[in-house]
Every structure is written in structure tokens, then in C-alpha cells.
Symmetry: C2
């Protein structure tokens, strides 16, 4: 209920302007976002690297309507992969195809994506495709299929909650791409996605086993102890070594757990968002975890 | 909770002997089971036929441990298809492969199944394979794949609740077999199946759309108004005529609805169980619907 409210708030532009202008939200932004500039992001990536954590940099931003914005986002991502190559090798970038214009013009988006992938490949940086709301789901999936032959190390996120995911995964069994399994943080109707939390968790565990059995170097995007424990056991049971998969967690979420997993010998990649458009991202984080919302309220009240 | 209790009761042999011996359960048996003999079943099939209802005859019985019992069940099924051909053409038989010995010896079961399919094909009677508890699920699926090339009109049930079903369905998109979609009445752990009722219903609706789009003459085994309404609309939306799919419902359950659908021009096939081993079947029906349980209690108290 609260969660749906927050997911709606994430899409509310007026509220975005109102909240973004408040200096009191600074504490929140600092916790979950690396900063406004690429330099901020690289600084965080290097700090994480010293602690044994991998990162994926995410330039904040969502669906663009103006194709010039999509080109601008592509250029910024190309700057990002080049900065990574110079200052933080091993980091990846995570990109939302709606940022590259997929909902405005699929051909332009394909051009942007190929440009980014080419620039990234030239400096040996891997690219990950985020999975967004189901309205961008099919186009993202098709774009992924299109680029895989030339850029087989591209990784795409798939959402455990979506009803289409098991079939998509079945279609991947022969291709064996890199995948990141997430639960799915968007507000979807019951016709398209599981909604009951226990059911989504159970489906996540089920699909984790399928991915471990079929796809190389999978990533498991989760902060859920139950899912993490399941992945650890499932990987061991099917002979996938600790080096051959990774956990992914968000910057600022369960920081102790991130470090504990590294101490236990697991690979952990922290998803590090940066840029000025942090509002919808943070609203989704609030919707996911009541604990984050409390942190937000404290930071507002505390000034 | 009550439902799990009843599903456990369904497997309890002592309770089976106790309850089966009570004359007071007669009312219940008469409502949900056509009778003890094949003649009883044919009489019901003919009566249904006069009302415009198709039927599928199910010889009651579950997992056999003794292969002689599997052979006996096969012989009884062959008698059934021959009786159908003579007295009630258009009826099908529904068989559980555990009855034909699949959990005891898969090769013997394959032999029994092929014998039955050959006898049925000889008299132009269609055979449907029930889907049982997931322990028999993979073997049943494989047996179905094995017989499809020779007996392509065989229909198999798939359970919406099982996590493997979307992938199984994806594998069927090219083969296009006949399928019967059911929710799934067995007690399965959360790791293998959706358990939340709303989620199972939503998954049923989702899969119904997939089956209508990809498979010929599908059957929808459901008594749920919401699912029935969804199937009606989905069939219309994708241009599948009322003659080109069927609803399936259990004997004694929602009898008015069965007749109403026939009046509305839909095909309805009633699943008619017969034989002496009605106990586990009835316990599953009780677990499914509190209304059936009330009927049961009234019939016990009423004597």
C-alpha cells in the first residue's frame, strides 16, 4: 500500500521538483547516490575497489522523450566507460534503455546502444542493461538479443516477478548470456507480475537455480538474506565456484553485508548511481524497504 | 491450513479404510463419483451426453506399487475406451500415469500407455493424461513427449501453480500439442509451486492466454468464475471460436454453471470418476473448496 504510493510518487514530476529542491534531503541523497558528477562516481568506485568491492556505475535518469536527451545520455555513458578504463578498471556501467530513447525511437536507441557498446569494448569495460517497467521490457529484451552476437559479454537484468521471465529464461538456455536476476522494483499489475512478496522471493530462488545451471557468471541482485543464502547453497550444489558468479547490491544498502560477503570470499558488485536525477531512483528504494523510508524521514526531520 | 490437512488425509491409508467403510459417506460419493462399475460410468456419460455435455471418464486409483495392479488398470482402461466407442462416442478417458506404474517402472508404464493409446486409437477415442503431484511430473511430461509423434491427439494436463509450467509451455510452442490447463490440486512446497490463491489464479489467467495463442483445442479445467470469464474474453480476443476449445469441470461441481455454459454455446467436458478407490480423489476435492467440505459434513451428519 505504502509501497504503491511511493512508486506512484516516483513518477510524479511536481513532487520531484518539490523534493529535489529541499536541502534537507541531502543526507538521503548522500547515502544512496555517489554524487552529482562523474568525478564523484569514480571517487566512490575507487574507494569501493580498495575494500574489495566491484562496482557498476549508473548514470541516473529515466525515460527520455527528447531524442537529444538520449544522445546526451549516450555521450555521458561513453565518458563514463572511458573514465572507468582509466581510473577504476573492472567496474561496469548499468544503463536503462529508456534513457537511450527506446520508448521514443527504437532505431535511434539501437544506434546509441551500439555506439556505447563499441566504445566500451574498445576500452574493455562491460555494459549491463537494467530491466525497467514492463512497458520497456520487450523492446529491451529484443535489443539485448540483437547486440549479443557482437557483444556477448553484455549482461541484462531479468525480473523474477514478471510472468514472462521463465519463458525468456528458457529462450536463453541455448544462448547462455550473462544475466542479472533481480526481484523487480516496478509497480506492475497482477496480470503481468507476481505481487505477493513471499511468492516473489520463492520465484527468485527458483530462477536463481535455473540461471546457475545454465548461464555463465550470473549476477544476483538482492539484499534478501534468504535469497543470498539460497544462491550460496545452490551455487555450491551445482559446482559453480565463488569466483564464477557475483552478488549485486545497491550503494548504501546493507553495507555490512556487502563487506561480510567479500570477507567470505564472494564477489560483490555495488550498483553506484550518480547524477542529478536521483528522485525516481530513491522513491523506488523507499518503496522496496520500509527501513529506507525511515532513514529518509529521519533525514528530513533531522534537517 | 484446513486444505493442507485434507491433502494429508488424502494420503492416509488408515483414514481411507475407516471412511470408506462408512455407509454415511454414500451421499458424498454419489454426488462426486459416477459409481463403482464401468456400467455406472457409461450410464452417467450417456445422461450427460443428452444434456449436451461431453465427458472424460476417470478410473479412480492412484499410484500403484505392484506392477500387476498397473497391468490391471491398463486392462480396465482398455475396457473403458471400448465401452465408450460402443455406447458414448465422443467421450475421452483421463488416466494418471502413476496408475499405469510410472513411479514403479517407467518402461512398464510406457508399454502400458502405448497399449492403451493403441486400443483407444483403434476405436477412435481420445486419451487425456492427468498431471499429478510433482514427483510424477517430469516422468509424465517425458512420457507425453514420447507418445506425441504416434498419438498427436493425446492431451496432457499442466498445472498453473507449478514453477516449471511456463518453461514446459515454452517447449510446447513448436509442437503444439493438446493441453488441459488446471490450477493444480496437490500439496506442493513453495519451492516448486505458487501457493497464494490470488497468485495462482493470476498465473492461470496468464497461461490461459499463452495456450489459446499457441495450442489447438485447449481445455480449461476450472470452476473459477474469474478464470472462466477470462478464458471467454481471451478466446474471443485472439479469434479462437467457441467450438475450438473446451471447459472441463468435475462431476458434481458447479452443475448449474456447466449447463449454463452449454446454453451459451461453449463446449463443456465433465470429468467423471468411477471405481471403488474414490477416497484420495474426494479428499482433494474437499481441500479445494470449503463448499464441498460443508457438503461432506452435512452428508456425514445427515447419515
Amino acid at each position: 500500500m505504502m509501497s504503491r504510493l511511493l512508486l506512484h510518487a516516483a513518477q510524479n514530476k511536481k513532487l520531484e521538483r518539490l523534493v529535489s529542491g529541499q536541502p534537507m534531503t541531502r543526507g538521503l541523497v548522500d547515502r544512496f547516490v555517489a554524487g552529482v558528477t562523474l568525478d564523484d562516481a569514480i571517487t566512490v568506485a575507487q574507494r569501493m575497489g580498495r575494500e574489495g568491492l566491484d562496482v557498476s556505475l549508473d548514470l541516473l535518469g529515466e525515460q527520455v522523450e527528447d531524442l537529444a536527451d538520449a544522445t546526451a545520455a549516450t555521450d555521458q555513458y561513453i565518458d563514463t566507460v572511458q573514465a572507468i578504463a582509466r581510473h577504476s578498471p573492472g567496474a561496469t556501467v548499468s544503463v536503462k534503455l529508456s534513457q537511450l530513447g527506446i520508448l521514443a525511437d527504437r532505431q535511434v536507441c539501437a544506434k546509441n546502444l551500439n555506439q556505447l557498446l563499441e566504445a566500451a569494448a574498445a576500452v574493455d569495460v562491460d555494459v549491463e542493461l537494467d530491466m525497467e517497467h514492463s512497458s520497456a521490457g520487450r523492446p529491451t529484451l529484443e535489443a539485448f538479443h540483437d547486440v549479443l552476437p557482437r557483444y556477448p559479454d553484455t549482461r541484462m537484468a531479468i525480473q523474477a516477478a514478471l510472468r514472462t521471465t521463465p519463458e525468456d529464461l528458457a529462450a536463453f538456455v541455448d544462448i547462455k548470456p550473462r544475466l542479472r536476476l533481480v526481484k523487480g522494483a516496478y509497480d506492475e499489475p497482477l496480470s503481468r507480475a507476481l505481487r505477493d512478496r513471499k511468492e516473489v522471493t520463492a520465484q527468485y530462488r527458483y530462477l536463481a537455480g535455473r540461471i546457475l545451471a545454465h548461464c555463465p557468471v550470473p549476477a544476483f541482485g538482492t539484499h534478501d538474506d534468504e535469497c543470498i543464502e539460497h544462491v550460496r547453497r545452490a551455487a555450491e550444489a551445482c559446482g559453480v565456484g565463488k569466483e564464477d558468479f557475483e552478488f549485486q547490491m545497491l550503494y548504501g544498502v546493507r553495507r555490512d553485508l556487502q563487506r561480510q560477503l567479500v570477507r567470505d570470499g564472494y564477489r560483490v558488485r555495488v550498483y553506484v548511481p550518480f547524477g542529478s536525477q536521483w528522485y525516481p531512483y530513491l522513491m523506488r528504494r523507499m518503496a522496496e524497504r520500509p527501513a529506507n523510508l525511515l532513514f529518509f524521514l529521519r533525514s528530513v526531520v533531522g534537517g
